[in-house]
Amino acid sequence: MYVAVKGGEAAIDNAHALLAHERRGPEDIAEIAPDQIEHQLSLAVDRVMAEGSLYDSALAALAIKQARGDLIEAIFLVRAFRTTLPRFGHSEPLDTAKMAIERRISATYKDLPGGQVLGPTFDYTHRLIDFMLAAGVTPPQPVEAPAERGAVPRVTDLLDGEQLIEAETPRDGEPVGDLTRAPLDFPADRDLRLQALARGDEGFLLALGYSTQRGYGRTHPFVGEIRFGEVMAEFVPEELGFAVPLGPVALTECQMVNQFHGNAEQPPQFTRGYGLVFGQSERKAMSMSLVDRALRTREFGEDVVAPAQDEEFVLSHCDNVQATGFVEHLKLPHYVDFQAELGLVRRMRAEHEAARETLREAAE
């Protein structure tokens, strides 16, 4: 008797066993440890933490190992783990002016309070494959200098002092939205848009940000400032009533200064685009701030003409866990729907043939 082919539990178990085997690779090569990934592939770990929306570098490193280096798969693992964690509250707003700066650059001022700090960066390196790395050469000790004391003011705060840039006013009393706890509703406010962008796919946001530079929703951006370093996260437990430090969080913040805006009532002012991500990712923070500004089109009474300005388009498609799931679900069986289409096409072809036959007979 013929039995239609089925997946079968044994086949699935075998496929998973084979996956584990492939993950390990040849046994004569040392197995990679999560702490090696955490500390030596730290930018991959940063991306998984950022788009996984969970600040836990050890977990992100383990997810990268489990995902065989597929970062979107690792992000997915982290998200699924995050779902199961209880949420006991939210932190106080982070004060990035108090960041322990590792890198801080401005493209709008040659020099400024706090200085330009280059920090660890690929910028200005020649992208030549370094064959010495394969040989395992110990790098020279970096030069050290005492850290600057005191807060480093944000460039946008300097502009704000002269009212040259729009003021960033918190919405008093209104709680900040959380799209992981409430469904996204359109039109979405900026808090939710920024949250969606912060966990959005780096590649998608990069392409959208790029498109604004190429004329699809131009915003005339300047990098007011990019800073990377650690900021203390603080939390107010209800029973204490005052803020206690939870621990430092490494962040990249980008503040874009964009084309000015003004009307009969308001004198011209620069506008803002904002990006903030876990870890060190300037590409993501910059893309995010370009897209944030583009998504404020409606707010400034401008026409929505480009994809990056279209909030339903951007927010509905920026999540790579959602996107990869739905694209890849096409691998699942679709027998019954395909059968329905097959039946219809056959019927339509038969009708088509019959109609031609009738025509032919009429002609003869």
């Binding site: 008797m1 013929y2 239609a4 089925k6 997946g7 079968g8 539990e9 086949a11 699935i12 997915f76 998200r79 699924a80 995050r82 779902t83 199961t84 209880p86 992981t180 706890r181 409430a182 469904p183 996204l184 509703d185 359109f186 039109p187 339903e312 509905s316 866990v321 959602q322 990869t324 799931g325 739905f326 694209v327 890849e328 679900h329 699942l332 069986p333 679709h334 027998y335 019954v336 729907d337 059968q339 329905a340 289409e341 097959l342 039946g343 219809l344 339509m348 009708e351």
Partner: protein, 298 residues
């Protein structure tokens, strides 16, 4: 029926925490109160990918109790990879009993089919829904489609169906075929073939629809009118198959086409594997069942 497995430690019963389940139950209650209306809910990330049944899994997790008996089907079959995976997930995280028998199940999660065995009062059918919005491919914007639903302005869909008739001679929608629920909301039945649409009409079972990625839940309460859209001169009709099932000789059921060779050989077998197996157990034999009975006795 399989005995419950020991619950996997480290996770709450049926994976989701109780607060999340309560949130989902509220959305389900609202959905039942407004049949066919898409209720937004705070869909969670699940350990299976979006588009692979996360909405259905969250609804099932929210309605499942320790005494429930769960059946999971995909394309009508209990054996397809994703059905196996989801059934294992709940056996592991909830420790509930599972079954492949439609009549034994209290909760049935499905993708793309409604079982052939008629459902009974007290059963819950949970559909996995990829695109909950029936108007989505006519109007991509959620802000617009919500307005159209609010105004019950369904002209777009009628025009689309009319254009099908004008172009092809009949309505060329074979699955995802839109229905009107309780005389009010237009609803997407999920990508079940339109063959299954009549089964939704006044079904004694509760029908729940979960769309995880799109964050929507909707429902058809028991004994509710579900009418497939059509025109007076082009009434709704379902697919018909020329032959009975080659294994169990069933007629009036949905069949899958199985390619036997590269010379055009085909056989048609029940898409509902449980229905087919139980008919064969009852002695029904199709023409390609190995031990076929003489014609007329099946």
């Amino acid at each position: 029926m399989n005995a419950p497995a020991p619950v996997e430690t480290g996770y709450n019963f049926a994976y989701l925490d109780e607060q999340t389940k309560r949130m989902i139950r509220r959305a389900i209650l609202k959905a039942i109160a407004i049949p066919g209306y898409q209720v937004p809910f705070a869909s969670r990330e699940m350990p299976m990918p979006y588009g692979w049944g996360t909405g259905g899994v969250q609804v099932t997790a929210a309605v499942l109790g320790p005494d429930d008996v769960l059946k999971v089907i995909d394309q009508g079959s209990d054996d397809t990879t994703n059905a196996v995976s989801i059934r294992k997930f709940f056996a592991k995280t909830a420790g509930v009993a599972t079954t492949t028998r439609t009549a034994e199940a209290t909760v049935i999660q499905t993708r793309h089919r409604i079982p052939e065995t008629p459902l009974a009062e007290g059963q819950i059918l949970v559909y996995q829904v990829p695109i909950p919005e029936p108007l989505r491919f006519l109007e991509p914007r959620e802000t617009e489609t919500r307005k159209l639903h609010a105004l019950a302005d369904y002209g777009l869909m009628h025009v689309k169906l009319y254009e099908d008739i004008a172009r092809h001679g009949h309505i060329a929608t074979t699955y995802d075929y839109p229905v009107e629920v309780a005389g009010r909301y237009m609803m997407n039945p999920s990508p079940t073939p339109k063959f299954d649409n009549p089964k939704m009409h006044r079904s004694p079972a509760l029908q729940l629809f979960g769309a995880g990625r799109e964050k929507r839940i909707y429902a058809v309460p028991p004994f509710t009118d579900v009418v497939s859209l059509d025109f007076e001169d082009h009434p709704f009709e379902v697919q018909r198959f020329d032959k009975p099932c080659a294994l169990c000789a069933a007629t009036g059921v949905y069949l899958d086409e199985v390619v036997l060779d590269d010379r055009g050989g085909r056989m048609f077998v029940c898409s509902d594997s449980d229905y087919c197996a139980s008919r064969r157990a009852d002695g029904h034999r199709g023409e390609m069942a190995g031990d076929a009975l003489p014609a007329g006795q099946s």
